[in-house]
């Protein structure tokens, strides 16, 4: 069954006509061409598809757009202000926190949610905030360092 759904993504209003069982992940990638949101399992296990809904990290593979009408959805494409990257993005790039880069959008959004609530988190707070986002490349160390650097700017 298809339905018209109104979504607000990165400050922009969209009207999509999609099957009601289509996940937010699928709608973002396939209907809105926002392919910056990645997927690693589609089962809510890896955190790769993390987006923000009203500032809270949510796994887009488990979220249904029909329930998100009227909410503010932020994807990786909405993190920069125009051509100016978010301090987290700059820090991740400069400190080598993105190796293959595939988990990076999810990591960045979880990190943004953390910094929005705790602008100067401890290492332990960072670890807890990112504990739902798997990364296979970095051993996490450079990611912590990048979040810490961004928290100081």
């Amino acid at each position: 069954m298809k339905q018209i759904i109104h979504l607000k993504v990165n400050g922009q209003d969209y009207e999509v006509y999609v099957a009601v069982n289509k996940t937010l992940l699928e709608v973002l990638r396939e209907d809105l061409n926002l392919t910056g949101t990645k997927h690693g399992c589609e089962l809510g296990e890896c955190g790769t598809c993390t987006v923000l809904i009203d500032g809270e990290p949510v796994l887009s593979c488990l979220a249904l757009p029909i329930e998100l009408q009227g909410r503010e959805i932020t994807t990786i494409e909405g993190l920069a202000e125009g051509a100016n990257p978010h301090p987290l993005q700059t820090a991740f790039a400069e400190l080598g926190a993105a190796q293959c880069g595939y988990c990076t959008p999810g990591m960045l959004l979880s990190s943004k949610a953390l910094l929005d609530q705790h602008p100067h988190p401890s290492r332990d707070e960072i670890k807890h905030a990112l504990s739902g986002n798997l990364c296979r490349c970095t051993g996490y160390t450079k990611i912590y360092e990048a979040v810490e650097k961004a928290s100081k700017t």
Binding site: R29, H39, L43, Y102, L108, T138
Partner: protein
């Protein structure tokens, strides 16, 4: 080569050239491609571990609205495989399935949902066969044979090699020790599920975009299986969202997507589900090991005998090379005057194993380094000092004919022992003992259930395989550099960036040579239409091989630019250097030209400016069959100290910290080398503590990311990476490898630390709480304080090939 202080780009920590695209979501991985008229492919997979296919009825699937094509094994009957000697895979199984997950049929449909529904409508009649699910079953000649081409029934490959005088070695020993180890299989678990888009266009040419580490080998497999000239096929490796060796084989889904596209004339995308990624596998082989060594009172090894048995899974993959690799690199760390290796790989009805980070060497390295720890304990020696004393020398050969150019292992040991406070912390624990194997280290704090310990181990890995996968005498890496009159520099190379930074490497080298910034260099890679062949991102080969080819290509153009500039400025070309965007006369700095002006002069004089570079590793294989696996331009070295806490009540081991020093030659970008070292520490930790490809009732027990335990931020210990920079003569600016070697010492360092903490040996990974508790229970009963395999199967090995050691190999000291 210029001195370090003169290098403007090389040796400086800096971001990768594509890092901003990665942090903004701009990077397009394979599954991010949506081509016009693109449709979706899905693959039906076997539900039996071992069965004959009696018949496949696709009629109902074909009749489903929205289904565009359905194919089976009869549409793709030509076999393929990464190794020329193991052409045993079919894109879709023709008459036999060999593991749960083996591909059986392919569907193209207008969307994924329709394709999935079509899979449900395909009827396959199977005749189940007895499955072979373990090494021991693989050795049982009464069970069905999985492949007909094996060395002996289900033994895919036997290897038997002997170097130097084993008898004399054991005779000269003060003591002899035997141990048995098991290293469980595990998988790469890249965050990106494999994905590809096949596009057969109206001009009769085929393009495949794929998340592959080896576009060149995929190119060859498509040519073979699709019976199409390679020149009509273009393979483009998309940015790879994690490889670790898991995307180095040509795969069924790549061939199926292309075939479906050829049938329907539209682009076809196939993206594997996470469950399918577990079946596609090619992960770490489970390896059972037996090791026996003779050694002197001071720990010097007089002879080493190593046996391995690998559980290969359903197909060959890289398995023959993997088997050799379980015996090749034991000799490159410490001086060993006599060495015998016997190894075999069995076929089993599980997803095929292949190369995972360290390819075949982390398992024997675990066995060897724990074995050495036991020897040190037997002798009452400091395990760090004992290793340090017998590190191989620079510019020598090993007993099995491998060439050591530079070895920074001693310095690695010094760095990690210093950083971890090893000497102070371990001095209290150790008491000299007689050789008994029973004396335990004691680090217990009286009364507490949690005990602490430190362990050390070392490792080494190759900087690129000395020989290509298929026999040929061509370059392993090619680079083309083009410089245009606007000052633009483009570097073309078939190398494939999997996140390690190989694209950036090309930019750093071109920028260094031309006196520009990495940002000024355009890099075009991994596209078989546009780029010269590079064999791919495997065996840690890219920095050394691509780097050398890139230096050669850039210097070819540089020479022309300098010559044209010299004529203009009326100075000798030798007095010119390129730096800060200028060509400058070092004898008179007033004489200079901008890079752009110099390029224009050169183009006027020589015509269109381009340069080519080719790299082939030095020919160093020893004079025996099987000598092709192991040789490399150089070897990296690593040492790790692990600090652990063991809860004796629950068996839970917590790794508190890992110190990991790595000699990767000159660090072309220290930021990336540290990143590789930290990532290796993490991955080695995961293998040591939790990751396992386990099977139950002939099924993969845990084909999901929730059940396949991998370390989160909360599990991963603090990691301190330390770089040791030997300047290796074979490498570009002295570089060696960094992507794989640092993983090797991590699992044995952790196992050795557990022993230091609680006095029990866990002789298999992963080191899970149940194993620790069982070993502690044995200890409390006064039995051997150990958990691990009890015996190694009794195997009739082929007569070993006996090889004389090279002239400058370590000699037996009487």
């Amino acid at each position: 080569m210029p001195n370090n202080h003169k290098l403007a780009v090389i040796g400086h920590a800096q971001p990768k050239i594509e890092s901003m695209q990665k942090v903004t979501g701009e990077t397009q991985y394979a599954d991010d491609l949506f081509l016009p008229r693109m449709v979706y492919g899905k693959i039906l997979r076997s539900v039996y571990p071992h069965a004959r296919i009696i018949g496949i009825d696709t009629a109902r699937a074909e009749a489903l609205p929205g289904v565009l094509a359905v194919i089976t094994g009869k549409d793709l009957p030509i076999k393929f495989g990464i190794m020329p000697s193991s052409q045993d895979e079919e894109a879709l199984c023709v008459d036999r399935v060999r593991f749960v997950g083996d591909p059986v049929a392919g569907v193209a449909a207008i969307d994924e949902e329709t394709a999935e529904r079509a899979l449900d409508l395909i009827e396959v009649e199977y005749e189940p066969l007895a499955p072979i699910m373990s090494i021991r079953e693989g050795l049982d000649p009464t069970l069905p044979q999985i492949h007909e081409y094996a060395d002996q029934h289900n033994v895919h490959k036997f290897v038997s090699l002997e170097f130097g005088d084993m008898e004399a070695g054991f005779k000269a020993a003060d003591h002899i020790r035997e141990d048995i180890f098991f290293y469980e299989g595990d998988t790469h678990l890249p965050m990106e599920e494999h994905s590809c888009v096949g596009h057969y266009s109206a001009d009769g040419k085929l393009t495949l975009y794929s998340s592959t580490q080896t576009p060149h080998y995929v190119h060859r497999a498509l040519e073979k299986t699709l019976e199409m000239p390679r020149g009509h096929i273009r393979v483009i490796a998309s940015p790879v969202g994690g490889g670790f060796g898991g995307k180095t084989d040509p795969f069924s889904h790549e061939i199926v997507a292309c075939k479906l596209s050829m049938l329907i004339g539209r682009p076809v995308k196939i993206t594997l589900t996470r469950e399918e990624v577990f079946y596609t596998h090619r992960g770490r082989h489970p390896v059972l090991m037996w090791v026996k060594s003779g050694f002197k009172r001071d720990g010097q090894i007089t002879a080493l005998h190593f046996k391995t048995a690998l559980d290969g899974g359903g197909y060959g993959s890289y398995g023959i090379a993997s088997t050799y690799y379980t015996g090749a690199l034991q000799t490159v760390t410490y001086k060993i005057p006599a060495y015998k290796f016997e190894g075999l790989r069995v076929f089993t009805n599980k997803p095929p194993c292949g190369p995972k980070r360290g390819h075949g060497t982390p398992q024997p390295r675990f066995g060897l380094e724990v074995h050495l720890d036991k020897i040190a304990h037997d002798l009452g020696l400091d395990p760090a000092e004992m290793r340090r004393k017998y590190v191989v020398d620079d510019a020598t050969k090993t007993v099995n004919h491998l060439t050591i150019t530079t070895c920074g292992l001693r310095q690695c040991i010094d760095e990690v022992t210093k950083a971890s406070g090893w000497k102070q912390k371990t001095a209290d624990h150790r008491q000299p003992t007689a050789v008994s194997g029973q004396k335990l280290a004691l680090s217990a704090v009286e009364g507490s259930a949690v005990k602490h310990g430190l362990g050390i181990a070392c490792g080494s890995y190759l900087s690129g395989a000395g020989l290509p996968i298929y026999w040929n005498d061509l370059p392993h890496s090619g680079v083309i550099v083009k410089v245009d009159r606007g000052g633009g520099v483009a570097v073309f190379c078939g190398s494939t960036d999997i996140g390690q930074g190989s694209d950036s490497l090309l930019a750093y080298i071109a920028a260094e040579e031309f006196g520009l910034k990495p940002k000024d260099i355009k890099v075009i890679t991994a596209d078989t239409d546009l780029t010269p062949v590079d064999l791919g991102s495997y065996s840690s080969r890219v920095t050394v091989m691509t780097g050398n080819a890139c230096i050669q290509a850039t210097r070819q153009v540089k020479e022309k630019i300098l010559q044209a500039t010299a004529e203009k400025l009326l100075v000798p070309a030798e007095s010119l250097s390129m730096r800060d965007g200028m060509v400058i006369c070092e004898d008179d700095e007033n004489r200079q030209l901008s890079f752009v002006d110099a390029v224009n002069l050169a183009e006027k004089k020589f015509g269109t400016l381009s340069g080519t570079g080719s790299y082939k590793p030095p020919k160093r294989a020893g004079p025996f069959k099987g000598s092709g696996v192991g040789p490399s331009p150089s070897y990296s070295y690593s040492a790790c100290v692990a600090s652990v806490s063991v809860d004796t009540e629950t068996g839970v081991v917590t790794v508190d910290k890992l110190w990991l020093a790595h000699d990767g030659g000159r660090a072309i970008n220290p930021l990336l080398v540290i990143g590789q070292t930290e990532g290796s520490a993490y991955m080695g930790f995961g293998e040591a503590m939790m990751e396992e490809s386990a099977f139950r009732k002939n099924m993969h027990k845990i084909p999901s990311m929730l059940e396949y335990k991998s370390p989160t931020t909360l599990d991963t210990p603090e990691i301190e990476a330390i770089l040791v920079e030997t300047i290796d003569p074979e490498g570009p600016y002295g570089a060696k490898e960094a992507g794989q070697g640092p993983l090797l010492p991590v699992p044995p360092a952790i196992a050795n630390a557990v022993f230091d903490a609680v006095g029990v040996r866990i002789d298999e990974v992963p080191i899970t709480p149940d194993k620790v508790l069982k070993a502690l229970e044995e200890k409390s009963k006064g039995k051997e304080p150990r958990f691990g395999p009890k015996d190694f199967p009794n195997i009739t090995w082929p007569e070993p090939i006996k090889v004389e050691p090279p002239e400058n190999a370590p000699k037996l000291v009487q």
